[in-house]
């Protein structure tokens, strides 16, 4: 493996800016790494070799012309296949969009290109971002680089697996109930769900519009911050985009500290269902924060016990409405149009053929929750729970600066283990969902390996809405302390592929 693929994004950008290496050489090294390992990992659904090299050549030309380059110019990135890319296939992991070539770029895609970031390709994901294992992809599962027989988390398993296996130093994910943070946790990488509205959703295929949020995936906290600043900020094309300055996350990542900080530990996030090794590493992290000068406060957020139930009513309800646009008329798959069938029959046959099981389950669940007679009991009650969860967070943030928890109750589970047991699968998002419902900011970063299986454990940090910089300030301090303790980044303990 080329040493160029081991560098952080910050190191890579500095070497390109100084002329020590070219963006083309960096891109070629990563394309070679993809060729060498992705047959085993299956992180990518599509590799855009030509587009990547063209972008890299443009960055090199700009440098040679003496132009000032952005902080991530020439750095390769793996883009979740939920963001539209002009002229490059976008499938959302679904057969219903197989072969679709979007005629426009998502705002996130556009900002990456404008920043000189090199998009290597599109990464595998659970179909329409519905899942916690990437097994719901219509194009086959992705392996966890730590153990290819286990899941890389989901829905953004492809993005996290790509960075954990050095196929890219950066990736973009989306987080509706944990789809950035949970894959980061189980692959030993860093993932951030920015404040809802912090990153534009324009051109991001909608699953649950009041919860969906794009964000950065990286191997270090600083790299995540650099990427965060490139993609964040107000966008007139997304009416729910926040019209306020982007939190200073890079500055925070460069100045990690928890001295005098109040850190809340939520008592509801432990007990039955939590793996012993996960809790051991979490408790050690709490101890570490104390040693670093933080004040740790035990908190109770009683409504969090209903977060999972509320989420599995709200997200399916919104998805049943959002996915109604897949009607086989204007783009995407159309089947059964033999000249005798009505448009409605063709729509039903196409949706049956084009959607996988989990998508069908959630569409029907949402249709049920929104139907007259059940609406108040299900969707209406779920919206009340959402209010109670926000209030629990508000009370917590009156007492503490950030809240921490394990990111996910267990380490990576074996491929197939929960594939046909939806309720077991949903439990993977137990600790991540409350932040989506409240719309605040959260990060997952590695806090060690579980002793019983040697697999990565994630520490979740949660900050109030628009206080994303706190995640990075705390995350950078924790990361530095663990690095000093371990003597190397945790990914170096992953077996060679």
């Amino acid at each position: 493996m080329s040493e160029l693929t081991r560098l952080t994004a910050a190191e890579t950008a500095a070497k390109i800016a100084s002329g020590e290496v070219t963006a083309v050489a960096v891109t070629e090294a990563h394309l070679a790494r993809i060729d060498a390992v992705d047959e085993k990992v299956h992180a990518f659904l599509h590799v855009d070799r030509e587009g990547a090299l063209e972008q890299a050549r443009a960055v090199d030309a700009r440098r040679e012309a003496g132009e000032e380059l952005g902080p991530l110019a020439g750095v390769p990135l793996a883009l979740k296949d939920i963001f539209t890319t002009q002229g490059v296939p976008t499938t959302v992991g679904s057969k219903i969009l197989e072969g679709w070539i979007p005629p426009y770029d998502a705002t996130v895609t556009r900002r990456l290109k404008d920043a000189g970031v090199v998009i290597l390709g599109k990464t595998n994901m659970d179909e329409f971002a519905m899942g916690s294992s990437t097994e719901n992809s219509a194009y086959g599962p992705t392996g966890n680089p730590w153990d290819l027989t286990r899941v890389p988390g989901g829905s953004g398993g492809g993005s996290s697996a790509a960075i954990a296996s050095y196929q890219a130093p950066l990736a973009i994910g989306t987080d509706t109930g944990g789809s950035i943070r949970q894959p980061a946790a189980v692959t030993g990488t860093v993932g951030v769900k920015p404040t809802y509205g912090g990153v534009s959703r324009y051109g991001m295929v909608a699953f649950s519009s009041s919860l969906d949020q794009g964000g950065p995936c990286a191997r270090t906290v600083l790299d995540a911050a650099l990427l965060h600043e490139v993609i964040a900020g107000h966008d007139p094309m997304d009416s729910t985009s926040i019209d306020a300055p982007v939190p200073s996350v890079v500055e925070a990542a460069r100045n990690g500290s928890v001295e005098g900080l109040r850190v809340g530990v939520i008592s509801e996030f432990r007990g039955e269902g939590y793996q012993a090794g996960v809790m051991q590493r979490f408790d050690e992290s709490v101890e570490l924060l104390r040693e670093l000068g933080a004040e740790v406060v035990e908190l109770s957020c009683p409504s969090f016990t209903k977060a999972l139930a509320a989420y599995y009513l709200i997200a399916p309800s919104e998805c049943s409405s959002n996915l109604a646009r897949f009607d086989a008329m204007r783009y995407g798959l159309r089947t059964g149009d033999d000249g005798t069938r009505s448009a409605e029959e063709v729509t039903s046959l196409t949706r049956e053929a084009g959607f996988g099981d989990e998508v069908k389950r959630r569409i029907m669940l949402g249709t049920y929750a929104l139907s007259s007679g059940y609406y108040d009991a299900y969707y209406g009650s779920a919206q009340k729970v959402r209010t109670l969860i926000s209030r629990d967070f508000e009370r917590a943030f009156e007492q503490v600066d950030v809240v921490i928890s394990p990111t996910t109750p267990t380490t990576a589970f074996p491929i197939g283990e929960r594939a046909d047991d939806p309720m077991a699968m949903y439990l993977a998002d137990l600790c991540t969902i409350p932040s989506n419902l409240a719309g605040n900011a959260a990060m997952s970063l590695p806090c060690g390996l579980a002793p019983e299986d040697g697999l990565p454990v994630g520490l979740q940090i949660i900050a109030p809405a628009m206080a994303d910089e706190r995640l990075y300030r705390v995350g950078a301090a924790v990361e530095a302390a663990f690095l000093a303790r371990w003597g190397h980044p945790i990914l170096e303990e992953a077996p060679a592929l």
């Binding site: 070539i101 005629p103 426009y104 159309r334 448009a343 389950r361």
Partner: protein, 98 residues
């Protein structure tokens, strides 16, 4: 709250325009019944006097100036259509013969 029957799943599938097979109806009925049983936990708060939250941001009627801007050329948009004719999306019959 009541469980969900195979017939209800068939009804939901019709509403959602999903032409489910008979095996799928059996399979999904059991799973949806389990899921609905679990998510029914939210109904504990049904009678509480709590305002609903539909969205994390308190935004209403976000406006932008109504300016004429270039749009995508028709041939580019129609290039992704399952079928097109005379610069239009071509769709199966939507009304009866008579």
């Amino acid at each position: 709250m009541p469980g969900i029957t195979r017939e209800e799943v068939a009804h939901l599938a019709r509403l959602a325009r999903l032409e489910l097979s008979s095996e799928e109806l059996d399979h999904f009925a059991g799973q949806l019944d389990d899921i609905i049983g679990a998510v029914a936990a939210v109904s504990d708060v049904a009678d509480e006097d709590v305002p609903p939250t539909s969205h994390p941001l308190p935004l209403t009627n976000v406006m932008r100036p109504d300016e004429v801007r270039p749009s995508l050329p028709p041939e580019q948009v129609l290039s992704q259509a399952p079928a097109s004719e005379q610069q239009r999306f071509k769709v199966p019959q939507i009304l009866g013969e008579e």
